[in-house]
């Protein structure tokens, strides 16, 4: 008997209030609810999170590594797109 394999999920964890959800890793689960609980057990054991998102990996549309150059390289030499010409006060966090 060949073992059926559960679908893969991607896990996003938000560390603290006011921060973004950050990709933490992936896991396998039979459905969305199980994925959420497995994510709790795998990725928030050390008090990392206050919120978890899970999404099936096959629902994500991703850019292809083959298209990396046309996708990203043209942005490399356009420094005027970076907001580097003013100073940020020291007490403004998370920027």
């Amino acid at each position: 008997m060949s073992e059926p394999v559960w679908p893969l999920y991607e896990v996003f964890v938000r560390g603290r209030r006011g921060l973004n959800h950050v990709h933490a890793g992936s896991l396998r689960a039979a459905d969305d609810q199980m994925a959420l609980h497995n994510a709790r057990d795998l990725y928030t054991r050390r008090n990392e999170g206050v919120s978890i998102w899970v999404v099936r990996s096959d629902l994500i549309t991703a850019s292809s590594p083959d298209e990396k150059d046309p996708f990203f390289d043209p942005a490399g030499d356009k420094i005027y797109r970076h907001p580097t010409f003013y100073t940020i006060p020291d007490d403004v966090p998370h920027i």
Partner: protein, 255 residues
């Protein structure tokens, strides 16, 4: 640390602590055995939660009996007849259905006790219970979700879950027998009354059973709780041999 000896409180801490320690060990046995990696971590998390509860309770036993003995003494250097856990905790579970049934019963029962203990007149017990309620709520939820998934799954998984429940059920009546120590401490507002946990237990098991299409047997009351007096099943000696082996073989081992 209180210099006065409180033998009832010490005995009671051993009961609650041994339940957690022995159940934790049974869960740890599933490391490398769980059906999925994700569940292996979940079971290990639950085992660790219970181990944490056991450590505090055994330490408290050492201060309450006036001996000042450490948690390690109680875990590693007591004989089988000195352990006060219920038989359910030492029950061997070789099938995932059995394990889920045991965990569902254990967590539902323990949560009902812990909820009572949050109002304990003993500050340490009340504080421990407040923390443990959150942990055990998750344990119960984990087991209930699997019980429903298996019970309401395929005919094969339903039969396995049903067999698991049948494996565990003979050890359920003991959970609601109040040992004389428990009776005295419950009357004094320090301990929880196991008999008082039964209504909630039956309600929760009824809900899970209905969702899981499982028939939950009735509880046939029993008169005694042998585990609370240090009388154990034949599964206990091999369990303790593994639990205590390293500490007893190498007196200088540290961890």
């Amino acid at each position: 640390m209180s210099p006065t000896s409180e033998p009832d409180l010490a005995a009671y801490c051993l009961m609650l602590g041994d339940d957690a320690l022995i159940m934790s060990h049974r869960l740890q046995e599933w490391c490398t055995m769980a059906p999925e990696l994700e569940d292996e971590v979940a079971l290990a998390n639950i085992a660790l939660d219970l181990l944490g509860q056991a450590r505090e309770l055994l330490t408290r036993a050492g201060s309450a009996d006036g001996s000042g003995r450490s948690e390690d003494y109680y875990a590693y250097f007591r004989g089988e007849d000195e352990f006060r856990n219920v038989w359910l905790a030492e029950l061997r579970c070789t099938d995932f259905g059995q394990l889920i049934a045991a965990l569902l019963v254990f967590a539902t029962w323990r949560l009902a006790l812990l909820q009572q203990l949050t109002g304990s007149s003993d500050e340490m017990l009340a504080a421990l219970a407040a923390k443990a309620v959150k942990e055990v709520t998750y344990h119960r939820d984990y087991a209930a979700r699997w019980a429903v998934r298996l019970g309401d799954g395929t005919a094969f998984s339903h039969d396995r879950m049903e067999a698991g429940l049948a494996h565990v059920w003979p050890y359920v009546p003991e959970l609601f027998v109040a040992h004389e120590v428990e009776q005295r401490l419950a009357a004094a507002g320090t301990g929880a009354d196991p008999a008082g946990a039964r209504a909630e237990f039956e309600e929760i098991l009824g809900q899970v059973g209905a969702a899981a299409t499982l028939e939950v047997p009735k509880i046939v009351p029993e008169a005694s709780s042998p585990g609370r007096d240090g009388v154990h099943t034949e599964a206990m000696a091999p369990l303790l041999a593994e639990l205590q082996g390293v500490a007893r073989t190498d007196g200088e081992a540290t961890w």
